[in-house]
């Protein structure tokens, strides 16, 4: 069957990470993000480390090979901490990475764990000075009496060195666990959201931030919902959205008031009360919200589906795509093994025509909005021969299982694809399994 997006055919390109099945906890990938040009691809893991890959310059002699991503820089972003006041451990796991648009030769990104956001500068050094007057080449200072002439030091080429340095640390502003960060289109401010509050920061100022949303009830017994994700509008610097564990999305306008507790728009799909069950609220909890690149739509991911909302229509989504509806009859066991609380992310392609999200068994799904077609693909070592075309997969929900189909009971729920990213312009996708990063490309040209 033809793939979505006008016969897009996805091919294996690269896989990063260890092959062995024994996965160290630190190696679990926790976030994946392309930068604004797609030249750089960053990953964060549970061990607090960031690895950045760079797309190499295209190989002109073999045009069917899109360029490969190779390691550009890697550094320890966050370290484990201990909150002495609460006797709680603060994980070093990187929850989110967001790139800043490039302004000069250096690259900047924000990375965050549960409590602290850091601004990292990644800069290249490919020249070094030589011929100092007062220093030897190895750095020892010369005896000034031995210097008889003056020379001008010159810059000579050296092997490329990529340095990452923390430029800002934004700490102590979140009582609860940070789930999102989002850079404003003004490129000066950004927001950080935890379970109950959203703060607005200036990238230059670390000693204070503005609280713009606070849903903490006076009496914690009355707590009914938490913030699950937040994002700034891609063009309107005054607008942001945040999603909740009850399946609602609130759009807020920072021009309306300093504290945006009162939303400008509330997006919620009415629920049929006769269908309500113990699981209804849990599976309606939104795990991710993403604006489309054109800023007219937003996409939300809940446990079983992906929904596209038109920002001008609050009462229901304009499109709903079932990711793995066959799991509805497995909710009891998915609750018992905690899988029902898995937080899947979702992403748009560059021109907002296709959306992608992950599932179990290392499957991921793509939905072509225009062509009304969807496909299930698998990220696995078995399908990782160079340029091997990915075969669509099919899950058999019940009844007779056809050849090549996999039954729901055979799915491996430990192999979850929570994090995926799509190159901002090209058809290149990055898919993270538990500890491996797969890069797939569209077999085009």
């Amino acid at each position: 069957m033809a793939g979505p997006g006008g016969d897009m055919q996805w091919c294996f390109s690269q896989v990063k990470g260890a092959i062995d099945d024994d996965v160290a906890e630190a190696d679990i990938i926790s976030t994946v993000e392309f930068n604004h040009t797609g030249e750089l691809l960053a990953t964060g893991d549970k061990g607090g480390r960031v690895v950045i890959f760079q797309q190499e310059i295209e190989n002109k002699s073999q045009p069917q090979f899109r360029s490969e991503y190779n390691v550009y820089s890697t550094f320890q972003s966050h370290e484990p901490e201990f909150d002495y006041l609460k006797s709680l451990e603060i994980e070093e796991k990187i929850n989110k990475i967001r790139w800043l648009p490039q302004k000069n030769a250096a690259q900047f990104l924000l990375s965050t764990n549960d409590k602290t956001i850091k601004l990292w500068k990644i800069s290249e050094r490919d020249k070094r000075p030589e011929g100092y007057n007062l220093k030897e080449e190895d750095g020892r200072y010369k005896d000034p009496n031995t210097i008889t002439s003056l020379r001008v030091p010159v810059l000579i080429p050296m092997d490329l060195m990529v340095e990452a340095s923390p430029r800002r640390v934004f700490a102590n502003a979140h009582t609860y666990h940070i789930n999102s960060i989002s850079v404003n289109s003004d490129n000066e401010t950004y927001l950080s959201a935890d379970d109950l509050r959203i703060n607005l920061w200036h990238l230059e100022i670390t000693d204070r931030s503005f609280n713009i949303v606070d849903i903490k009830p006076a009496n914690m017994e009355e707590l009914t919902e938490v913030i699950t994700a937040a994002e700034f509008h891609p063009h309107q610097c005054n607008t942001f959205v945040y999603s909740s564990s009850k399946g609602t999305i609130r759009l807020c306008d920072m021009r309306a008031s300093a504290l945006c507790d009162k939303h400008s728009k509330l997006f919620e799909e009415p629920e049929d009360p006769s269908n309500r069950s113990f699981f209804s609220e849990i599976i309606s909890s939104i795990s991710d919200v993403k604006f489309s690149h054109n800023g007219r739509y937003m996409m939300t991911r809940d446990y079983l589906s992906v929904k596209i909302w038109d920002l001008n229509m609050e009462n229901r989504p304009v499109e709903t795509y079932q990711v793995h509806e066959y799991l509805r009859s497995k909710l009891c066991s998915l609750y018992e093994n905690d899988c029902i609380f898995d937080k899947f992310e979702c992403c748009w392609n560059g021109n907002d025509s296709v959306v992608m999200t992950g599932s179990y068994n290392n499957f991921f799904r793509m939905f072509d909005r225009g062509q009304r077609r969807d496909v299930t693909l698998e990220a696995s070592r078995e399908n990782s021969k160079p340029l091997q075309v990915l075969k669509p997969r099919k899950v058999c929900a019940g009844g007779k299982r056809k050849k090549d189909e996999i039954s729901v009971d055979s799915l491996d729920f430990n192999k979850k694809i929570l994090h995926t990213a799509w190159h901002p312009q090209d058809n290149i996708i990055a898919v993270a399994t538990t500890n491996n990063l797969y890069i797939f490309q569209d077999k085009v040209n």
Partner: protein
Amino acid sequence: MSGDNEETQTTEETTMDDKETQDKVISPEKAEEAKLKAKYPNIGNKPGGSDLLRKRLTKGQKYFDSGDYNMAKAKIKNKQLPTAAPEKTEITGDHIPTPQDLPQRKPSLVASKLAG
């Protein structure tokens, strides 16, 4: 509402296709709910309410104090090593340790395998 009827009928259910009951169709979700309630009869009357949310807000293992935390970390690190024979004459410190004195757990400096 035939809520009670659902409890007695769900044991008959096998596959998702077989949704027929005596007089109404049970959604797969409600069937799963009945399964859960059968296993855990005391499951919260406020599903997805305060209990679940509270658990989410306080995720992260709580330790009694920083000493407890460091002991736990040391135990994990030394899990593989054989336990040493207890010293007959134990040497104790000469002052009460403060948080600054406690050895900080250094994260492993092993590089990510993605960069390998």
